[in-house]
């Protein structure tokens, strides 16, 4: 009879969808079949059918819930990490490729491996400080502030870094600690303040030559900051137009920085903000805070994506490209 055929066909479809991994579609068919069986119980007469279908539904629902609730495998095997490192390092500059690769690992949530890579990169003179900062950023992203501090202290004790390098890291991490309200003063000291001013103020003493102040200053600055092409931004304050004439200012810590692109993590609870910050949005009013100074500038939302695994799951990752700094 028609009814039985209909039920049979629904159950067959359900099985097939299930075998294709289309669990919701399978569930729908089972539920539909169940409804018909219930409604026409008297006509069908098979008392075992409904419990059997109900059991299938229960198993399927459990499976759907399990997949949805299970934390996504956040650490992938080494060979996959290698691909992330090698194939997702998008840069035109050969020199920074390895650094970009390690940043990509961090972006895919592979923090342990990223840390390992950053540590290796600390042997490279040109990337040393940048790699060290990213190590700190990894710890900060994982909210492991004591690890960040411990790491700094290790560097401090080992004297593997030059004093001016160490100082950059101290200033960098200290500002993060201060902002988070963590009472901890990192060991280290300000470098001898401003040798350059002494020279600038009295250029005459240098071998009797008159040296133009700008030149001297330029040289000293250039030397100390040779590896630093872009300033480090530790946090940003963005003023956004929420509606016509309605302004809102938000402040965020920078979780990663790669050249002119800074990455912010925005909590999933801040829905309105996530909505406003669409890709391509020009940010006309941004304060960029570096550990030592504040700059005004502009940026543009470069990409926005939801984090799918790891401790920050559900939050949004936002890349902002720095346009101008004044």
């Amino acid at each position: 009879m028609d009814l039985k055929k209909k039920i049979k066909s629904l159950l067959q479809h359900a099985e097939l969808y299930k075998s294709q991994g289309l669990l919701n579609e399978a569930l729908e068919k089972y539920v539909h079949a169940g409804r018909i069986i219930k409604k026409h119980a008297a006509v069908i007469g098979n008392k075992k059918l409904l419990p059997a279908v109900a059991k299938r539904i229960k198993i399927l629902k459990a499976e759907i819930n399990r997949i949805e609730a299970s934390p996504d495998m956040s650490v992938v095997p080494e060979n996959v990490q290698d691909i992330i490192k090698n194939k997702f390092a998008f840069t035109d500059r050969e020199e920074t490729r390895d650094l970009e690769g390690a940043v990509a690992l961090a972006k895919f949530g592979q923090y342990d491996r990223a840390l390992r890579e950053f540590r290796v990169l600390m042997d490279r003179e040109d990337l040393k400080v940048n790699a060290a900062k990213n190590i700190i950023r990894c710890h900060v992203t994982l909210n492991a502030m004591s690890d960040a501090v411990g790491q700094y202290r290790e560097w401090f004790d080992q004297s593997a870094l030059r004093p001016e390098e160490l100082n950059k890291l101290r200033v960098f991490l200290q500002s993060i600690l201060d902002k988070k309200g963590i009472k901890e003063t990192l060991p280290g000291k300000e470098p001898e303040p401003i040798v350059r001013e002494a020279i600038v103020e009295d250029p005459g003493i240098m071998d009797g030559e008159i040296i133009l102040p700008e030149l001297v200053q330029g040289e000293i600055l250039g030397d100390a900051d040779a590896e630093e092409e872009i300033i480090d931004i530790s946090s940003v304050e963005i003023t956004l137009e929420e509606g016509p004439g309605k302004w809102r200012t938000v402040e965020y810590d920078v979780s990663f920085q790669s050249g002119r692109v800074i990455n912010l993590l925005i909590s999933s609870s801040d829905k309105a903000l996530i909505e406003i910050l669409r890709t391509g949005l020009e940010l006309k009013k941004v304060h960029f805070y570096s550990p030592i100074a504040m700059f005004n500038g502009e940026g543009v939302v470069f990409s926005k994506s939801r984090i799918e695994s790891g401790p920050k799951q559900g939050d949004y990752s936002l890349d902002i490209q720095i346009k101008h700094i004044r």
Binding site: L16, Q20, E63, V80, K87, S305, I307, S317
Partner: protein, 202 residues
Amino acid sequence: MANINLKKREIECKIVYYGPGRCGKTTNLDYIFRHFQKQVTGEMVTTETDGDRTLFFDFLPMGLGKIRGYDVRLQLYTVPGQVKYSATRKMVLREVDGLVFVADSLAVRRQKNVLSLKDLHGNLKEYGLSIFKVPLVMQYNKRDLVEQGIPIMSLTTMERDLNRQLKAPSFPASALRGDGVGDTLKTCIKLTLKSLRKQMGW
């Protein structure tokens, strides 16, 4: 744009298989891995979670031999299909050279196909790419299921839903059996190399 290493005379092209969850992207790569051994240059790497769902991507390296003295390498990727993996999809799509959109022929997946194509369109736009200009091939997969008596969309319906404006080359396929898999890939490679030639001024 393809990754061109002038010094090593190497060109790396990236082809991404896109489409809704469970449409058969991984199955396509699986088949290619097993049947195009001459072109495959390394292991296929998959990132599947316990529900055998792709987590980050699948990856398959291939070689196309030399073109104008350049060693042309091809990397095939799939994206995770589930809606919640949008960030990963976008990362995988970065610097894509060619695309295969795999659509599921099952009638129950009609809307999912359309949504996924829209998602692709949006993601490309964010990288400054136009879906109308990127080398793109459509694949209507799972045609073998017709024999199972399950509701399957006609090719005309799928063309109308997905390809009316794009007018991309399209192929019916059964990735499980391998029908149409080679044609899809070859056409995509052809379009990708054509666009590469244009970029290189060859």
